[in-house]
């Protein structure tokens, strides 16, 4: 049996290796491995470098925002790329979508609050939640900001209304919160609160409110499993994480750019 090699020195990833199949081993050689990158500045460049070194898949741990040159470079490293986003887990997002059973969404409301340093990632993941529940890409139509808080009106597919707000919490020890509601005959309520250590998905229908089963698997184990599954599929099943991140990052950049210009649009 050929072992699955993981290149990582990220403690949360090292911690979960024992939860994977016994042939998973730590390696320092990118070639033929799953390479875990920290998501600090420059991760796009390092992702391409890993691909060039022969990595079979890359996992990016909490990717930060990317500037315009890196954004252009997001496409096509030619290998599977899995993004471990703090407030947007793909399995939880899939649970929320599946529980709606295809029922019409009539509006999506996203509310985020967190430290200034978290704002970009918070908004990006909030936008990602809206994209998931709206069923497609978003377009920014209006932005209003006071600096401390910002409100945004967006449109999803078929002009679906989406609103987003984010507020900066200046207190030390504060942590990010994403709250999402998808309104309709079936209503979805999402709470992702990393500091409180809780992720909740509730689905309300005429019959009552159902709470999704908690996902006990760590985000890091999930990310590694997805990367290994993509490798095993030999290209037949490739994660859409980069394309989704790219779409969410573009919307976020547009919002933050409007805020930075200090005027409504």
């Amino acid at each position: 049996m050929i072992p699955t090699r993981i290149v990582t020195d990220e403690p949360p990833y090292l911690a979960v290796l024992g939860e994977l199949q016994p042939d998973v081993v730590v390696s320092t050689r990118a070639e033929g491995s799953v390479v875990v990158l920290d998501g600090a500045d420059g991760w796009v460049t390092r992702m391409h470098a890993a691909a060039a070194s022969g990595a079979r898949a890359v996992v990016v741990f909490e990717p930060q925002g990317v500037g315009e040159p890196d954004h252009q470079a997001l496409g096509g490293p030619g290998i599977a790329v899995v993004l471990d986003r703090r407030w947007l887990r793909p399995d939880v997002a899939a649970d929320a979508s599946a529980a709606r059973a295809g029922d019409t969404v009539r509006a999506v409301i996203v509310e985020c609050a967190g430290l200034a340093a978290e704002n970009q990632a918070l908004v990006r993941d909030g936008v990602g939640w809206a994209r998931v529940l709206a069923g497609g890409r978003l377009r920014v139509t209006s932005v209003g900001s006071t600096g401390a808080a910002t409100i945004v009106l967006l449109e999803g597919p078929d002009a679906l209304p989406v609103t987003l707000s984010f507020s900066t919490l200046p207190s030390a020890g504060a942590g990010g919160l994403v709250r999402v509601s998808a309104l309709g005959e079936t209503r979805t309520e999402v709470t992702v609160d990393g500091v409180a250590g809780c992720t909740e998905i509730q689905t309300a229908t005429r019959g009552g409110v159902a709470t999704a089963a908690q996902r006990f698997e760590s985000a890091q184990r999930l990310a590694l499993r997805r990367a290994m599954a993509a490798i095993a599929s030999e290209g037949r099943s490739s994660p859409a994480d980069l394309a989704e991140y790219s779409a969410d990052a573009a919307v976020t950049a547009e919002i933050l750019s409007a805020v930075a210009r200090g005027r409504d649009r």
Binding site: A107, I109, A113, V143, P161, T163, S167, L183, R206, V209
Partner: protein, 354 residues
């Protein structure tokens, strides 16, 4: 003391809201007179209460047993009827929203009530809900400034709530049909004029329940950030007031999940959520939950009474102390609603002209 109540109107708000609510407050209020506009529904309602019946407002206002006039007629009659009640020397008026349809009308109503010493209250029940009182107290004690407010509303048709507070099925059906006949079944939201009109109506008729509370947080209206109508019937409006950004999103859904009516206030330290119960029913007050910036979650004990009961109880208190009526606040509330509604409607029309 028990105050005699005269009711102008016989719509669903009377059948399923105020009559059942007043049934909980029999020691304080007794319905003595009901007047409709000629529909005949007042007679059916009076049969259950023993009240006198008339058409129009003249007989009711001349009825000396009527201390309190409850105005539940169509909005275009409100200001005239409130002023007539004040002129007739009635002790109090509880007017369903809106109080009037223009700033001038508002000022005339307020001036008349102030001059005659008539106690005036506008039926915006969330302001009186113990949950809002608790949230307000929490915000005052925490002394952290509110940065943004988001009010999210999703309401299915009312009949499921009517049915659990009233067995007057025929009257409810007739009242609901009459109310529905005044509304277009499916407004063409692609027409900016229709969309603007609809958003204005929904802000003055639905979002208005929260606006007196929001005015306490963000009193000085500055500008609309965005506004649009939502299909099938709804609104999304963002505005800035006193440096606070406010988002109002509401949609009337054809069925499905129970009402969601949530006001979320984000301060510099925490998020305070107030979740109000559905209209018409009496399950107790709303829920107040606080999420601290450090993740600590707190939920306050729910009040035993809902906003409708406490609204009438507050009216009772004002009747005992009529000098404590804040006419200036009533006027400011009404003008605030109009500024937002008119601003949103104008925003939609301007966007369409671009």
């Amino acid at each position: 003391m028990t105050y005699g109540v005269g009711i102008l109107g016989s719509g669903p708000g009377v059948v399923a809201l105020h009559l059942p609510t007043l049934g909980h407050l029999r020691n304080e209020f007794q319905v003595v007179h009901i007047a409709d506009g000629g529909s005949g529904r007042a007679r059916g309602l009076a049969a259950a209460t023993g009240a006198r019946v008339s058409i129009g407002e003249t007989e009711l206002l001349a009825d000396t047993d009527v201390d309190v006039v409850l105005v539940c007629s169509s909005p275009e009659h409100h200001s005239r009827q409130v002023r007539a009640a004040a002129a007739a020397g009635k002790r109090a008026v509880l007017c369903e929203k809106p109080l009037a349809l223009s700033p001038n009308e508002v000022r005339e109503v307020i001036d008349d009530c102030r001059a005659s010493g008539t106690v005036l209250m506008v039926g915006t029940n969330h302001y009186y809900d113990p949950a809002w009182r608790q949230a307000r107290k929490h915000l005052a004690e925490s002394a952290s400034g509110v940065q943004a407010v988001s009010v999210t509303v999703a309401v299915p048709p009312n009949h499921r709530y009517h049915e659990v507070v009233s067995q007057q099925a025929d009257l409810l059906a007739a009242a609901s049909a009459a109310a529905a006949a005044t509304r277009p079944p499916r407004p063409d939201l692609s027409d900016p004029a229709i969309a603007a009109h609809l958003v204005g109506l929904l802000l003055t008729g639905l979002a208005v329940h929260d606006l007196p509370a929001l005015r306490e947080i963000a009193p000085a209206f500055e500008r609309v950030v965005y506004a649009r109508a939502l299909p099938p019937v709804g609104y999304a409006v963002g505005y800035l007031a006193s440096g606070v950004l406010v988002q109002l999103t509401g949609v009337m859904v054809p069925g499905g999940a129970d009402v969601l009516w949530r006001m979320a206030l984000t301060t510099t330290d925490e998020r305070v959520e107030v979740e109000f119960p559905p209209a018409f029913v009496h399950p107790g007050g709303g829920r107040v939950r606080v999420r601290g910036g450090d993740g600590l979650r707190t939920e306050y004990t729910r009040g035993r009474e809902d906003g409708y009961l406490t609204e009438w109880m507050a009216l009772g208190d004002l009747l005992s102390h009529p000098t404590s009526v804040d006419y200036g606040a009533l006027e400011a509330d009404a003008i605030y609603v109009m500024l937002i509604a008119n601003g949103a409607a104008e925003f939609i029309l301007q966007e369409a002209r671009r």
